[in-house]
Amino acid sequence: MSLDYVKFSGGFEKFMPKEYRDMVEHGPFGKKISVSQMGSFKEILEEHPMCAGCAMTLFIRLAIIAFPNPEDTITVGTAGCGRLAISQAAIPFVYGNYGDQNGVASGLSRGLRLRFGDKPKDVVVMAGDGGTADIGFQQVLHSWFRKERFTTIMLDNEVYGNTGGQESGMTNRGAVLKMAPLGKKFEKMDMLQMAKVAGCAYVATVVPNNPRRVESVIKKAVLIAREVGSTYIQAYTSCNIEYAIPTDKVMEDAKTVENDRYQFTEYVSDEAKQYLTERYGYKDYLPKAAAPAAAIPNKA
């Protein structure tokens, strides 16, 4: 949990694989990096077994780049596709039982605060729609009601992609899937509204066809979770296998879905706005200069 854990032990440098040496010498640890520098530094996400052209992989790649302090971050996940990639990054990853990721993260976040005091250690939960909205629903909601200070990211592919295409709570009504041949009979769960009701300090939806926005949203969510309260990001990360999207059309689909039902939305509580402005210099939430008073039409 510091820059030391990625350094070489004395005398071992020459035995380490090239990828590891590149990461230590040219990785993002201890530096300020952004998506505009992608391709020119060694990323801490390594090779993984996720499908070719997967939008979830792209989102995870962007998310890991967006972490404000990757050397002081722990990710927590659960069963699902996402963990195949998240676990292949050079940041500690905790793999809970199915659905208990927010319970694990609650304890972890509290423990880190006891151990390290004010020094920020970020806990980020990244789990699928099944892990967050179905099987882990109870623990997710309770962690929000308790205002646990960590970030929850839902990788919403709208299906159980890892087990053959069963409908999840986040599947759209009417969607026909391999294991839901008659079409889903219920509406997609409104997790955004539930997050707001449960008192999350920051709630946002995002689609990975805008890397800069993904970066900005994740940075804000992680920073707010350090002191203010729970934060929630819901990301549309299509499953090109279960929804039969050709891999080269994945971003076209993301764009269509963004325009249709996944528009960018962002809710920031007043306390979080004040915190971002005062602590991290965000200018977006400063009070706007008063507009000139509208002319009062003369009554004829």
């Binding site: 090239k18 990828e19 590149d22 010498e25 040219h26 998506v35 505009s36 520098q37 992608m38 391709g39 020119s40 530094f41 060694k42 990323e43 996400l45 390594e46 090779e47 996720m50 070719a52 052209g53 997967c54 939008a55 992989t57 792209l58 790649r61 962007l62 066809n209 890397p211 891999t247 080269d248 059309k249 994945v250 971003m251 076209e252």
Partner: protein, 110 residues
């Protein structure tokens, strides 16, 4: 054999969009070199593919054709690439990377 992405340096180095580096789902796969384009007399640097990491999804082709309107990336059979970058031959420098291009079939087959 299988398809991997192949970037035309002449077209890529005429613009500086770098969009493909931000949209590739695989990490450390589409790399950007500030010098590999300018060394050949082109205006900007160029993106290039670490072909041993490319899974052949062609997402970058859509991004280059549709978003950047550059048409610089084509899918090519790996045994038909004369020279390409592989991870072992990529060197990281300050704010850029440089690759020594080689016959990928020989390097990957080893």
């Amino acid at each position: 054999m299988y398809l991997v992405a192949n970037i035309n340096v002449e077209i890529c180095a005429s613009k500086s969009c770098k969009l493909c580096t931000q949209y590739c789902p695989e990490a450390n796969t589409i790399q950007y070199s500030e010098t590999m384009g300018t060394d050949k007399g082109y205006k900007y640097g160029t993106a290039y593919i670490a072909v041993d990491r490319c899974k052949g999804c062609a997402l970058c082709v859509w991004v280059c054709d549709t978003m950047a309107k550059n048409n610089a990336i084509k899918m090519t059979m790996i045994d038909q690439l004369p020279l390409a970058a592989v991870t072992d031959n990529i060197r990281y420098e300050e704010k850029t990377t440089v690759a020594v291009l080689s016959d990928p079939m020989i390097v990957i087959g080893n």
